[in-house]
Structure formats: structure tokens, C-alpha cells
């Protein structure tokens, strides 16, 4: 589904060049829920931004299905973002002037899909994520958890190959964070969504099928969940402790 090969990315600051991603390779299969973890500065968000082509990478390849994203022009990339990728941002990025329903419909509106279809689909997702009662409310009138579930519903509207989520629980309390993770799990179960999530939150990551741990721009460990969630979380915490991350990274 999503395949990253030998991805390199560095930032240039004045005369200095600072490598952030060094030969990163990974593969995510259809229906998988994968998290990327690691200490601050390990390159998690940069990896996500390179995959979504928000920022260009120096070398390597990013394949989505049969499509190589590295060489696409702006127009084709826009189409990929609309049809094949879904995004969930840490600060929700909902449009304040649109209601919950309208925000969810937005990807299909951009794609020019029929109205009846988009309305039915948005309603289905709202019910699925428990936000059907607030469909006509505006972002300013709903809670953080509801906003993020709205964002998850929006990300799913065009049946993307992968949902890319950047710290989706970062701005939420634990109850709201659990609701958002539940939304991802439901999406995975009911519509076979593939989710690639960058997170600091080991609790959120413990719900994933697999966790990739980055350190200094390289893949440090890859842990697959085999048993109970609690055990998996303990395993993740041990790995993070071995990295010497600060308290925040071990949340």
C-alpha cells in the first residue's frame, strides 16, 4: 500500500546542512494501523510531511499503491492528496466557517462528487464516530475530541489508501484521545482504512498493529503487537526508556 525506500531529507540552515531522515525504508500494508514514535527531533513529523509531499525529500522513493509520489507535479499531487491520502492534523484544521457536516464533505466537494452520495457518506461516518448529533454545529461550538473525530471522518470521505495522522491526540485530554483512537480503530474495522500515525503518546500507539521507532533520523526498532494491548504498551515504554527520551516522550 505505502512503501518508503531509502528516504533522505536534510534541512539547510545558513552554511550548515542537518540530516533529519537517513535512508529510512518502511512498508505499510492495507488495513494496517501503524504508529511512528521517537524522541523529539528524531524525524517523525518530517517523515510524515515527506510522505504526504508537503515538503520535498532529497532522495529515495515514496510509493503509494502503484504510484511513485516523488516525481509528481503540483497538479497530480493535489489529486493524490484528494483521492488517495487522508489527513488528520494535531490542531484539527477544520474550517471555522463550515459546519461539521460541511467540513466532512469538503474532500468530496473538491472532487466534485454528487451531493446525495457525499451527504449519505458523511452521515454514515458521523454515526460511526458518534458525532451525528453535532453535524450542524460549527467547530467553535464543539469539543476538541469532537473536532478530531470530525477530522477523521473528513479524512475517510474519499476512501483514501492511507490516512496520515500527525499527533492526532496531541491536543486532547485522555478521554477525547481514546475517542479519536476508537474512531481510527472503527475505520480500520469497518472500512479497512490504513492508518499511519505519528505520535508521542505510547497509550495511543499501543492500539496500533505495529510501531516504528525512529532515532536520529533512522529506524531504531520496529515492534509488532502480538499480545494484549497492555503488554504492548509496556514493551513500547521500555523501548522509549532505552532511547533516553524525556518524560514527554514517555507519556
Amino acid at each position: 500500500m505505502l512503501e518508503v525506500k531509502n528516504l533522505n531529507k536534510s534541512y539547510v540552515n545558513g552554511a550548515g546542512r542537518y540530516p533529519v531522515l537517513k535512508d529510512v525504508s518502511l512498508k505499510i500494508n492495507k488495513g494496517e494501523f501503524v504508529a511512528v514514535m521517537g524522541p523529539s527531533g528524531s524525524g517523525k513529523t518530517t517523515l510524515l510531511n515527506c510522505i504526504s509531499c508537503f515538503i520535498p525529500h532529497d532522495s529515495g522513493s515514496v510509493r503509494l499503491g502503484d504510484l511513485e509520489l516523488s516525481n509528481l507535479n503540483e497538479q497530480k499531487l493535489a489529486k493524490v492528496r484528494n483521492q488517495k491520502l487522508g489527513f488528520v492534523f494535531q490542531d484539527f484544521m477544520l474550517l471555522d466557517g463550515l459546519s461539521v457536516r460541511e467540513n466532512i464533505c469538503l474532500p468530496q466537494i473538491i472532487a466534485g462528487k454528487p451531493v446525495a452520495q457525499m451527504e449519505a457518506k458523511s452521515e454514515k461516518f458521523c454515526q460511526m464516530f458518534g458525532i451525528d448529533k453535532i453535524m450542524d454545529k460549527y467547530p467553535a461550538e464543539i469539543s476538541g475530541g469532537e473536532k478530531q473525530r470530525t477530522a477523521v471522518a473528513r479524512a475517510l470521505m474519499n476512501n483514501p489508501y492511507v490516512i496520515l495522522a500527525d499527533e492526532p491526540t496531541g491536543n486532547l485530554d485522555s478521554k477525547s484521545a481514546k475517542a479519536v483512537i476508537d474512531a481510527f480503530l472503527q475505520a480500520k474495522r469497518q472500512v479497512e482504512a490504513t492508518i499511519f500515525m505519528v505520535t508521542h503518546d505510547s497509550y495511543a500507539a499501543s492500539f496500533c498493529d505495529r510501531v516504528i521507532v525512529l532515532k536520529d533520523g533512522k529506524i531504531y526498532r520496529e515492534v509488532v503487537r502480538r499480545g494484549a494491548r497492555g503488554e504492548f504498551m509496556n514493551e513500547l515504554l521500555d523501548i522509549l526508556r532505552s532511547l533516553g527520551g524525556d518524560g514527554d516522550d514517555l507519556a
Binding site: 503540483e74 484528494n82 492534523f89 484544521m93 474532500p107 473538491i110 457525499m118
Partner: protein, 699 residues
């Protein structure tokens, strides 16, 4: 739901942003067009002399105002784009193409710009009329000053609208072409760091600012008077020294806060200073424009004020209210016609006197430019032109002043309080009878002040002893002689109709003998003809009452003070109105800019106030931080701009003739009053902006 409906809804939700942008576009077009409608209207154009200083000054100040209006509108568009960035970032992340968004943005910008410009252009007519009417209440007291707008005035407004549309289009294009989504998504959090500002920035800024003004206004005069060198026009670029000084002052105010000096103060202002530091460049630029606009505002007000405070010649105790001089052979109106006409208007003629004067050829010392105009030269001009001479007895009768002139000397007749640079009152050294060609050496014997007689001759009129006058004019032809008539009427303030009637009779009787331009000189023309050269002032003029410029460009124009006063009143009204209008435009531009900046400070830092709240800051503390920010936006530009306006006005007056006259002192005092008024208005805008900003920041 379609994309079109989404756009519509988004527009509706950010109506405030569209309104603010539209308001700024409309306001700048409105201000400029209402001014140009009035300026290019026949009423104003008929009164302003071609190529005169006021036209140049009006154009210069208008140019600065155009720049000010342009900057604040483009600035408002920046705020608009910043607001839009989030929407567009999300749309792009969800797969909408840049091209689509670009199309949408241009459609929206075109719509807002077109509607606002059109509204500005249309509203300019009533606004210009209303402002004229308001001015009419205070300064225009003449029936001839009817508001007439010139269609040509729309042209600058339309050009300005097009320029704005282009600039906004370019800004929109830049916004859309931004490199990637990440930048757009993070625009609202973007900040610019400034480098550490060294401690000498502020003192250097002050030195540069003051030096620029003093050098620009004082040095050319000093060099001309002491070294006789004329500095080229490019020297005016020295004012840029002041502009860079202003930038340094503001930069240091915005960015500098050193802990070393006063740690308590440092920590007290830490949040507020850090807020500005991260937007230092934008804030400084914004303040710079405000300072320059305030400078324009003060200087324009001062310039207009100078005109309105010119001494009232009707109150003058010296001379007569009516005077005429015409070629001796001209059969002009005399005492009888004047008396008869006065009777018709119920007026009594007083102090009537008439005598002859003679134009003799003079040799004198003058100050002039060299050929390339770079140096002043003291030149002796031998037998170059004629000047009007009268005898001491005739002068006594004509002017009412008893004088005694020693034989072999002359006394120079000047206007009251004469202080000119190029002409020496004691420059005359020899006179020649143009017919007999006999010459006499003369020495300077003093100065006499008589406005009416001085106005009849260039560079001056001269008084000789009776004996010298008789001797030197003996055998001279009548073509060199003039008849001079001076008189008064009992009620001069009600003599306008009488004066116009008399003027009409005078014009009717004038023949080709009198048909000469203001600068015409009989001797210069003769010499030019003799040398086979073309004489530049030899052309005839339109000697009719329909010619508006007749009194200004006629060698033998009669001087009837009541007409001069009325004409001058109209001229003053026009000057004052132009100046005050520019003052108003600048003030409006500053108000809008400061308001927009205040709103953006509040909206950009909403997160910061939220954080402060979480850290336990109460509303009072947050309000204090916000107040400090906004106060800086208003206080510093007001202090620097007004201070600079005052300093420049003072320096210009001082260096012009090396003194501050009574009128200038009065104008400077009034300028202080205007500065106070500007500060009160800005305080009002500040209070309003503060309320709005508190609302936005959620305090």
C-alpha cells in the same frame, strides 16, 4: 453542497475580513479621488498659478499621500491573506489544486477591488462636496468660490484604482505561489527574529534624523549666502538621512530591551517587548509609514496656515488703497472719472494725488547664477534695464511720507520689511537718460518703504533729490514716462463694486501703449531689437475683463487693494483647503493603518493571551500587555512624526531668511495646536482599537 457554496459560506463567515479589505481599498480611492476632483476642478485650477510653488507642493504632498494610501491598503491585504492562509492550506491539503485556489482568490480579489474602487470613486463626489462645504463655513467667504469638480479628477482616482488592483493581484499571486502547504498552514504562527540591536542605534537614529532635517533645509541657504554656491536639486536626497534615522529610532524602540540597565523594568516589560521583537521588521516598517504620514499631515497643515496668516493689506496704515501707473501718453481715467464713479457707489474719494515718474536706465550690482546654475555670482549689470524714478517732492505727495534726499544720492523704495537675497537695495550705482545718453554716478542714501510704488517697478523704484530728478530727466521722451495716480476711498471695505467698475473703465481705455506683459522693459526691448535678438517679453496680452490672469501679468495693472484682497482671499482659501485636505487624508490613512495593526496584534497573539491566562494572568495583566503594544503603535509614531513636522517647519522658516517673523511664529504656535488636535484624534482611534483588540484577544 458544491464548491461554489463552500466558498460562499467561507466568505460569509469571514465577512469582517472582506469588509476590512474593501473598506481600506474604498477609503484610499475615496480620499484620493475626492481630493483630485476638487484639485482638478475649474475653481481651484483657475486660482493656482501655472508652475507655482503651491502646485508643486500640492503634487508633492499628494504623492506622499498616494504612497501612504497605497501602503496601508496593501498592508490591509496582507492581513486578509494571513486570514485566508489557513483556509487555503486546509483546502490544498485536502487536494484542491493551487490553480483552482488562485482562480478563486483572483475572482474574490477582483470583486472586492472592483466594488470598493467603484464605491470610492462614486462616493468621492459627495464627499468632496461635503468637505468643500465644511471648509466654506470656516475659510471661504466669497461667492465666486463655488464648488465645481473636474472630471479630470477621476483620472488619478481610476489610475490609482488600477495600480491598487495590480498590487493586490501581485500580492495574491505571491501568496498562492508560496512554496508549500506547510508554509501556508503555519503562516499564522510565523515570526521573524531580529538580530540584537546595539545600544548606539537610538542615539545614532536621533542624530541622523535631526541632521537630515537641518542639513536639508539649512545647508543650501548657508552655502548660498556664504560661499555663493547653489547646491543641485539632488542634494534634497539628504532628507533620506532623516528617513534612515527614523527607521533606526523605531527599530531600537521596537526591539531593544536590555536587562543590564533596569532589571525590574526589563522583567516587567518582558512579554510586551518579546511580542514586538518577533514582528520587529513589520512593526518598524509600519511605524515608519505612520511617521512619514504624520509628518505630511503636520507640514501640510503648517503650509496652509502660513498663507492664511499673511498680514491684511486693507488694515495697512501705509500707502493708498488705490494706485495706477500707465504710460504718460495713454488717455486713462482721471480724477473726474474716479470721482464720478465713486459717487455712483456712494463713496468719497480721499487723499487723491497724481504725478509723473520717469524710467531711467540703471547700472547695478545683482546676484545671479552662473551658466550651469551651480554658483551664485555677484554681477555688475551695466545699462541693463530701466527703473522708475520720482523726485523727493513727488514721492512725499504720493506716499504721504516727507523725505529729504541728498543730491548725488538715491533712496530705494522697497515693500514693507523687504528681505530678498538676489537684489541689493544698495546695488544701483549709475543712471542714464535713455534719450540723451547722459550718465550720472549715484550713491546709496537709504531705504524707503512704500508697497504700492515699489510694486510698480522692477527691481525697485528710486527717489532722487528734486534737483537731480530735474537734471537727469531733462530732454527725455514721453515714452519713458509714466503717470502715477494714488488715492483712497472713505469706506474701503465696501469699495469692491466701485473698484471693479473702475477697473473695467481702466481696461476699456487701455490701448496698445499699455499692452505689455508684466516683465516687459522698454530698454531691454530696444537693446534686443538693436542686436537683432528676439525679445521674450515683447508679446501682447489679452487686455479684457475676461482674462483671469490680467492683474497678475500686466505691466500697467492698477493695484486696487480691495480686489487684491478678494483675489487673495480666494487664493488663500484654495491653498488652505488643499493643505488641510492633504492633512485630513494623511490623518485618515494613519488612523486606518494603526487600527489595522492593532487588530492584527490582537489576532496574531490570541494564542499568547490564552497561554497567559493558563499561566494565571488575570484580565488586568493581559489588558496591560495589550495596552502597551497598542500604545507603542500610536505613541511613538505620533511623537516622532509630529516632532519632525514641527522641526522641519521651524527649520524651513528659520533658514528661509534667517529669522522667524511674527506670522511664522503665529503659524508655528497654531501648528502646535494642530499637533495637539492630531494627538487627540489618534487617542480616540487608540481607544476604539483597544476595545476591538480586547474583544479579539478574548480579554
Amino acid at each position: 453542497m458544491t464548491l461554489h457554496k463552500v466558498y460562499k459560506k467561507l466568505r460569509k463567515s469571514s465577512r469582517g475580513q472582506y469588509l476590512l479589505l474593501g473598506f481600506c481599498i474604498g477609503l484610499s480611492v475615496l480620499l484620493l479621488t475626492s481630493f483630485t476632483l476638487m484639485y482638478y476642478g475649474p475653481t481651484v485650477q483657475d486660482f493656482l498659478p501655472e508652475g507655482g510653488d503651491t502646485r508643486k507642493m500640492a503634487m508633492l504632498l499628494m504623492g506622499v499621500t498616494v504612497v501612504g494610501c497605497f501602503i496601508f491598503t496593501v498592508y490591509a491585504s496582507g492581513l486578509f491573506f494571513r486570514h485566508k492562509s489557513r483556509e487555503y492550506g486546509v483546502m490544498m491539503a485536502l487536494g484542491l489544486k493551487k490553480k483552482e485556489l488562485g482562480k478563486l482568490l483572483f475572482q474574490e480579489l477582483s470583486m472586492v477591488t472592483a466594488v470598493s474602487c467603484l464605491a470610492g470613486l462614486v462616493c468621492a463626489i459627495p464627499v468632496s462636496w461635503v468637505i468643500w462645504k465644511i471648509f466654506e463655513l470656516f475659510i471661504i467667504s466669497n461667492d465666486q468660490m463655488i464648488y465645481r469638480f473636474g472630471l479630470a479628477g477621476f483620472l488619478p482616482g481610476i489610475l490609482f484604482s488600477m495600480l491598487l488592483a495590480l498590487a493586490l493581484g501581485a500580492a495574491g499571486r505571491r501568496f498562492i505561489r508560496r512554496s508549500d502547504i506547510m508554509e501556508i498552514l503555519r503562516t499564522q504562527q510565523k515570526s521573524e527574529m531580529v538580530r540584537e540591536i546595539p545600544g548606539w542605534t537610538l542615539p545614532l537614529g536621533v542624530i541622523l534624523t535631526v541632521s537630515g532635517v537641518l542639513l536639508g533645509s539649512g545647508l543650501p541657504q548657508f552655502i548660498a549666502r556664504v560661499l555663493y554656491i547653489s547646491l543641485p536639486g539632488i542634494f534634497n536626497l539628504v532628507y533620506l538621512v532623516s528617513v534612515s534615522g527614523i527607521y533606526l529610532i523605531l527599530l531600537s524602540i521596537v526591539s531593544m530591551n536590555r536587562a543590564r540597565r533596569n532589571r525590574k523594568k526589563y522583567y516587567k516589560n518582558l512579554v510586551s517587548i518579546s511580542l514586538m521583537r518577533f514582528n520587529a521588521r513589520a512593526v518598524t516598517r509600519n511605524m515608519c509609514v505612520s511617521v512619514l504620514l504624520l509628518f505630511v499631515c503636520c507640514f501640510a497643515a503648517f503650509y496652509g496656515m502660513q498663507y492664511s496668516l499673511a498680514p491684511d493689506i486693507l488694515d495697512s496704515q501705509e500707502g493708498r488703497g488705490f494706485s495706477m501707473h500707465y504710460p504718460l501718453e495713454e488717455k486713462q481715467i482721471g480724477k473726474e472719472e474716479i470721482g464720478r464713479t465713486a459717487q455712483k457707489y456712494g463713496l468719497d474719494v480721499e487723499d487723491y494725488s497724481e504725478h509723473d515718474g520717469t524710467n531711467l536706465v540703471i547700472s547695478r550690482q545683482v546676484l545671479d547664477f552662473n551658466e550651469d546654475g551651480t554658483r551664485y555670482l555677484k554681477l555688475y549689470k551695466e545699462k541693463e534695464k530701466t527703473a522708475l524714478f520720482v523726485s523727493e517732492t513727488d514721492y512725499g505727495v504720493l506716499s504721504g511720507q516727507k523725505v529729504s534726499v541728498e543730491p548725488g544720492t538715491y533712496q530705494t523704495v522697497t515693500t514693507t520689511d523687504y528681505r530678498e537675497f538676489f537684489e541689493y537695495v544698495d546695488g544701483l550705482s549709475e543712471v542714464m537718460n535713455p534719450d540723451t545718453k547722459e550718465s550720472w554716478q549715484l550713491t546709496f542714501g537709504g531705504v524707503l518703504e512704500c508697497d504700492v510704488l515699489a510694486a510698480m517697478s522692477d527691481p525697485f523704484a528710486y527717489v532722487l533729490s528734486d534737483e537731480d530728478y530735474r537734471k537727469m530727466t531733462e530732454g527725455i521722451g514721453s515714452e519713458y514716462m509714466e503717470h502715477l495716480v494714488f488715492f483712497n476711498v472713505a469706506d474701503i471695505n465696501n469699495s469692491y463694486d466701485f473698484a471693479m467698475d473702475l477697473l473695467s473703465q481702466y481696461v476699456d481705455r487701455a490701448t496698445n501703449l499699455s499692452n505689455h506683459m508684466g516683465y516687459w522693459d522698454i530698454w531691454e526691448e530696444k537693446m534686443a531689437v538693436q542686436d537683432g535678438e528676439l525679445y521674450g517679453y515683447g508679446e501682447a496680452i489679452d487686455m479684457s475683463m475676461d482674462n483671469n490672469m490680467l492683474l497678475g501679468d500686466w505691466k500697467y495693472a492698477p493695484a486696487f487693494n480691495i480686489i487684491t484682497v478678494q483675489d487673495r482671499m480666494q487664493l488663500i482659501s484654495v491653498y488652505v483647503m488643499l493643505s488641510l485636505y492633504i492633512c485630513l487624508i494623511s490623518l485618515a490613512a494613519i488612523g486606518v493603518m494603526a487600527y489595522v495593526r492593532s487588530v492584527s496584534v490582537a489576532s496574531d497573539n490570541r494564542g499568547l493571551f490564552e497561554s497567559l491566562k493558563k499561566l494565571g494572568a488575570d484580565n488586568r495583566y493581559q489588558r496591560k500587555i495589550l495596552k502597551k503594544q497598542l500604545a507603542k503603535i500610536f505613541q511613538y509614531p505620533a511623537a516622532i512624526g509630529c516632532g519632525l513636522g514641527f522641526l522641519f517647519s521651524f527649520a524651513m522658516d528659520l533658514f528661509n531668511d534667517g529669522r522667524i517673523s511674527g506670522t511664522e511664529r503665529q503659524a508655528l504656535l497654531i501648528l502646535l495646536g494642530i499637533i495637539l488636535m492630531v494627538c487627540v484624534i489618534l487617542y480616540g482611534v487608540y481607544r476604539y482599537s483597544m476595545r476591538k483588540a480586547e474583544q479579539i484577544a478574548g480579554i
